[in-house]
Symmetry: C2
Subunit: 217 residues, 2 copies
Amino acid sequence: MLKKLSEAKLQEILETGISEFAAHGPDKANINVIAKKSGVSVGVLYKYYDGKEGFFKACLKQALRALEAAIEEAIQGDDKILVRAEKLIRAIQRSAKENPNYNVLYHEITAGSSQRHAATLAAEIEGISSRAYVGFIAKAQEDGDIRKDINPRLFAFFFDNMLTMLQFSYSCEYYRERFKIYCGEEMLADDERVVQELLKFFESAFTTEQSQIPHKR
Amino acid sequence: MLKKLSEAKLQEILETGISEFAAHGPDKANINVIAKKSGVSVGVLYKYYDGKEGFFKACLKQALRALEAAIEEAIQGDDKILVRAEKLIRAIQRSAKENPNYNVLYHEITAGSSQRHAATLAAEIEGISSRAYVGFIAKAQEDGDIRKDINPRLFAFFFDNMLTMLQFSYSCEYYRERFKIYCGEEMLADDERVVQELLKFFESAFTTEQSQIPHKR
DNA sequence: TCAAGACGTGAGCGAGTATTCACGTCAGTG
DNA sequence: CACTGACGTGAATACTCGCTCACGTCTTGA
């Protein structure tokens, strides 16, 4: 079989798609423009992908795989919960710097145009991390590292909420502006400070006097 | 001047616009359909508003005003920080139940199609609440209600991040699904439980042993 | 060297939709 | 009661963009 399009070219097309979808949203992004910017014809997009929607899904999959890879290291192993949190925060900062568009694409699917697929997408994307986070927290409770009078699923939810907002705050225009309004422009560059303060937040959120006293007796 | 369109009718048109924009997104929502559903002609939309974008802005303003009104009570007065947090959480739950579409519209502007206006919108929308939140937290630090070794702006940011995600989790399809995945379907209806657990989260996040000990001496 | 057919090309088709404007309607005026 | 013009109407217009397909080009194999 003839394949004039190299693997590298296909990759380039996906990257172009990701940045266009990130810049204009799934509806406004223009297939003809994406083809032109990638240096291929529109026709080829329709040979390789199933229309605009199929192409968007391919871009999304690419972006999500990369995001998953970026945090994979942090959710493996059996670190203490705060060590894990630190790894996750740093992974988010790193990945937002390398490929903010991946986060923007992730954010797109939470918006209106993707509503029909909300249930499917959420199950695919949040399923793994939710199980991981609930697992950590339940384990940390058993180990006595965090307070026991909390619902692990809700706390995992709160935990991921913080991380998700951090992702967007480093990558999506609106949230970046909001970040600057709250914390000042310089904070956007002061990664270390954000890590330390967010860890303080988590550390005390997970702990109380009661849960710590037994260790000290 | 003749005004065949009553104030009530204009209101109805805005409400229709809000629900259509919420359902399909700013790009896919159809002006002709909105006109038909409101029982007026397209022409009138162009007489009263400056094109599709102008109409969207009007809908947005309407939605934001309502959201602001819903939380206004909670950010006034001089409650202790946790009392205020509770009021805010309950206000979010109430408003999400009454008008989820307002939150969906708010969420829309954080997405791709509104990028050009991100800075302006963020300044308008987040400005007030950010000043209020930073103020609370700084005040609470002075009063010794919360730990002093934190950056009030960052903590205000974290605080609002949690509340923002809660808003979306009650209103936007994707986030509702995610909420269910993390916490189970029944938690979406168990408002009281969410209030209590989120308050625990905040309470311990804001406090440490060190900051509490002085009170007990 | 030369079919044959695999593959990419991109002008153009057509459906969808934002916007306009010629017209009808009706309250106010003299 | 005729006239005026403010106002709403919605068919028509103009334009955008997803998608197709007739064509040219290049690889392969005999």
